[in-house]
Symmetry: C2
Subunit: 580 residues, 2 copies
């Protein structure tokens, strides 16, 4: 008696031969071939969730797609699902209508809070969702020795996870790029773990790395990079074999700078990713479809853009059954009316209609996250005095720029009042604090930041890459303390405070990272939250995303941790006092 797989295969072949009707035939469309860049006038015959054949076919069910163009389901090559603040089913509801049918996540936010046990729980919730969620195993938890995470991930755990979790493809971004390039034993052990688990691929993360150190990083096995910010940087990396992920997130928007790489050298070795997207950006702009639209607006041939969003992402991630509308592949199909708009009229995941006219269809509820993944934010009540910074003449200031997660290390005069250095909205000088929240140590790092434009109050978040302590930026110490306290009360999330009162908030009780509300509600609350930030003067686009990256100690140049200011180029702690 043949097993189920063989029975399904035998039926698929019968469908392809025309001996049996397909489960579903998409009839009358133009099908994009990622292998020849052509648009083919063929039907698509689907059987047991796979594409059985292209040609002329009959089906038990037929979907008329005359006038529409059929594209392979879009693939996001690298993202942190936690940044959307959505559970897997709500994330699916958000992205399926935009044509995304496969994502490769690095769940290193959850990893930093709960370790790989938390990741396993998250992945289990994806099992019942009509979206393929593959993952790369978080490699740098904590991201560096300057970050106080709630959990660590060892090389042994990485290897075991790769061997036991079918969704795990390889090792996620090796953010400790200096450590790896310089042969740190821990980094090498993680490379070895990837090898031992079957020579898996390793995502890179190497902002600005160049020359000899870049070569060392690649020689160690880092195979991709999503942190390029200039054409020259991306070209150097691509010449040396890296797969370049053109990133267009909510804060980090690198597509425009990097697209010349595709225009001049073609799409080989390039794919698309979003890395981190806010829920309302998913709703308003979209997901990979938005990146495709932007690429074409910037002059990219539509075929090249599509190949990056489908075949190339699949090939990089060794997902041999994804990324194309072709016999034997998973039947992930996006129907669009107007090609360059990339706006899905209908979306099929594994042969099932999952979205139509921008709305998801019948995405099932998931099992609630376990109790132990709630209640993870442990902070003692703060008072304004906890946030006082001693007076100094010249101070280091984190310079934030719109559309970048890299910062500049600035130095400026301090504004001193009553013996302490204070925020000074007129000079766009805000105070920043990172408060350790996993073990309630009371440890607080303090500093200054420029670029938000905040004039009153504070904004705070337990999304604070990658250790996800509490990060808070404000012009008023009391409001900053109140914002931290509020996040402690609601189990984490994001909040805006002004005049001592909570103006808006999103509770993220799952690890302080993920909401349990529906996508629409999360996006709508996020609108309110961003509006509240504007009310207190914030001018920076995507301010909460920018806020959450101010604690990430593996991106140049100057960042904030609960231990204090981190010079992320020299990888050392530095004082606020620039002359101290």
């Amino acid at each position: 008696m043949p097993d189920v797989r063989t029975q399904e295969l035998a039926r698929r072949l019968a469908v392809a031969r025309g001996d049996e009707p397909a489960d579903l035939v998409l009839r009358g469309g133009r099908v994009f071939s990622v292998f020849t860049n052509e648009f083919l006038d063929v039907d698509v015959a689907i059987s047991d969730g796979h594409i059985a054949a292209l040609g002329r076919y009959e089906g038990i069910e037929t979907s008329e797609v005359t006038g529409l163009t059929l594209l392979p389901g879009f693939i996001d090559g690298h993202l942190h699902i936690e940044s959307t603040k959505l559970l897997p089913n709500q994330f699916a509801r958000a992205v399926l209508p935009h044509g995304t049918t496969t994502v490769v996540i690095d769940p290193h936010e959850i990893s930093n809070v709960f370790g790989l046990d938390g990741v396993r729980e998250l992945l289990r919730r994806a099992d019942t969702v009509p979206l393929d969620v593959f993952m790369m195993v978080s490699s740098c938890v904590p991201a560096s020795r300057f970050e106080s995470s709630g959990a660590t991930v060892t090389p042994e755990e990485i290897e075991r996870f790769l061997r036991t979790e079918p969704r795990a493809l390889g090792v996620a971004e090796m953010m400790d790029y200096q450590g790896l390039a310089h042969g740190s034993p821990d980094a090498l052990a993680k490379v070895e773990a990837a090898y031992e688990a079957g020579d898996r691929h390793i995502d890179g993360h190497a902002p600005g790395l160049t020359g000899h150190d870049l070569n060392a990083y690649l020689a160690a096995g880092a195979a991709s990079d999503h942190e390029c910010t200039t054409f020259e940087e991306a070209l150097e990396k691509r010449r040396l074999g890296m797969w370049i992920m053109l990133r267009e997130g909510s804060a980090a928007r690198n597509l425009e700078a990097l697209l010349p790489l595709v225009l001049r050298y073609g799409p080989r070795n390039c794919l698309l990713c979003t890395d981190d997207r806010e829920p309302n950006d998913l709703r308003d702009e979209g997901h990979i479809d938005a990146v495709l639209r932007r690429a074409v607006q910037l002059g990219c041939p539509v075929e090249d853009a599509l190949v990056m969003a489908t075949l190339n992402a699949a090939r990089y991630h060794r997902l041999h059954r994804y990324g194309a509308i072709a016999p034997g592949r998973i039947a992930d199909v996006v129907a669009v009316a107007e090609l360059e708009g990339f706006e899905p009229v209908r979306v099929w995941k594994a042969g099932r209609l999952v979205a139509q006219d921008g709305r998801p269809i019948d995405i099932p509820a998931i099992e609630p996250m376990p109790a132990w993944m709630h209640d993870s934010v442990h902070v003692r009540p703060l008072v304004a005095a906890d946030l006082a910074v001693p007076a100094a003449a010249r101070i280091r200031v984190i310079g934030v720029e719109s559309g970048q997660i890299v910062t500049r290390a600035l130095v400026d005069d301090a504004t001193v009042r009553e013996g302490v250095s204070v925020a000074d909205p007129d000079r766009d000088l805000a105070k920043i604090a990172v408060v350790e929240r996993h073990r309630n140590t009371g440890r607080i790092g303090l500093g200054f930041v420029r670029g938000f434009g905040i004039r009153h109050g504070a904004i705070a978040s337990t999304h604070a890459h990658d250790a996800h302590n509490v990060v808070v930026v404000g012009s008023d110490d009391a409001d900053m303390a109140a914002a931290v306290a509020r996040l402690g009360e609601i189990g984490g999330g994001q909040v805006a405070v002004g005049g001592g009162a909570v103006l808006a908030e999103i509770p993220c009780p799952v690890g302080g990272l993920v909401s349990e509300l529906p996508f629409e509600e999360v996006a709508s609350r996020f609108d309110t939250l961003e509006d509240a930030a504007r009310e207190i003067g914030v001018t920076l686009p995507a301010p909460f995303m920018a806020l959450s990256f101010l604690a990430l100690s593996v991106v140049p140049e100057l960042k904030m941790s609960d231990h204090g200011l981190v010079d992320t180029v020299g990888m050392r702690l530095v004082s606020i006092d620039a002359e101290g």
Copy 2:
């Protein structure tokens, strides 16, 4: 204490950083980047057989390559090493000077004689040779029910071999394309074996397959094809996702017909292979370098040709550390003086100089093949009468064409003398026989063939795809019988007979397939053998290669087995008498 791999990796990174000198630096050349199609002015730093870095580097040893262009080592995506009649070290001596550093073999000739035990012995001999010999596990042994092989390979054996043999990448050409497309249980079980062993890739072999049956074949998992003979055929297959191997063997020369696929649609999904090459073609024309030269002569951009011969072959076969000169890859480098000539001045395999100016350097001897792999040709002495064919009016004739392994099914008048149908050189009508030789059953299949031009005597071979019985073509029954007898005496090989005497021969005592002589001697003997064939009138180019394919029952249209004539389109035995 870190293990050797980690120590090597740490040193490689130190070399890349410039902290330690490389083992070897190739200085002053232009390096081709397969990722951007550029030629870069950089040194290549090599450490423990890997490329550590590109840039400016110092080495313990330095090789001056100013004025030369450095290319990644060439990869043959599909070949039967036995067709060269060479042992692995002699094959390495033959191809390394031509720039080939990696081959993916399907050893299904040895498999048909000795099963996978014979393959394991062959592969062991490659361990000490500076050439990477990967393999696909022979899937169709015997090739069809019409072929009497010496061994069979079961789905269980395929799966076990894939799990236990590190050189085994996937499943070799599924030549039973009708069986697979029609869901035969045996073919499906082999697909399942590939899946169970880790979702390995499966080579296709589907000459002329089109439409619904082609879709079924692809839906089953066949991922590549090296049997395309027309542009239209290759285009249909590529559109549907197949990797197209542009083949240029000794007999099957498909490059010219297929190259428009690359000229019009670019090199995506295309790679190069030779499938079957005679030893003197390797000496005189070359190997993949010859295919590259031909491609460029036919108008292919040199960069596209190179990408097919390197990166694309590596990507198709999932050899992630091959196919590029880039940090972390195996240091396989070919230096050429004149780019479009592709003639290697120097060749490095894993950082070691293995050929210079067309000559191999220090290729070690190998352990002799075991005794049980000799003495495999078991035939009783034949007499001319054994080869008599009853008289008929109209007879079926196998039509051979130069440069093709497909044949035409012809029908012509018989020439009848003394009550039997005979060869008639004036009408280019020769007699063909296939004599079972594994079990000495005495079974003989008889028929007629056109296209050799043979006027006297006979040529015979125990290279007779894929069962490798004795195949003999001649104009004289006595000479045909003598040729068969001689192959029995020498343990197999290839022979030309005229006037009752052996004119020339190559003994292939290993399974009747492989010589134990040095490459130069095999090539030179093969010259003599081909000369002898010309002397008895043969006009067909590469006549022994063509001869060896006349028994292959999985290529259209009409072939010969020890059971008789096989209609390989209808997959049935047919009589010689076209009206019978």
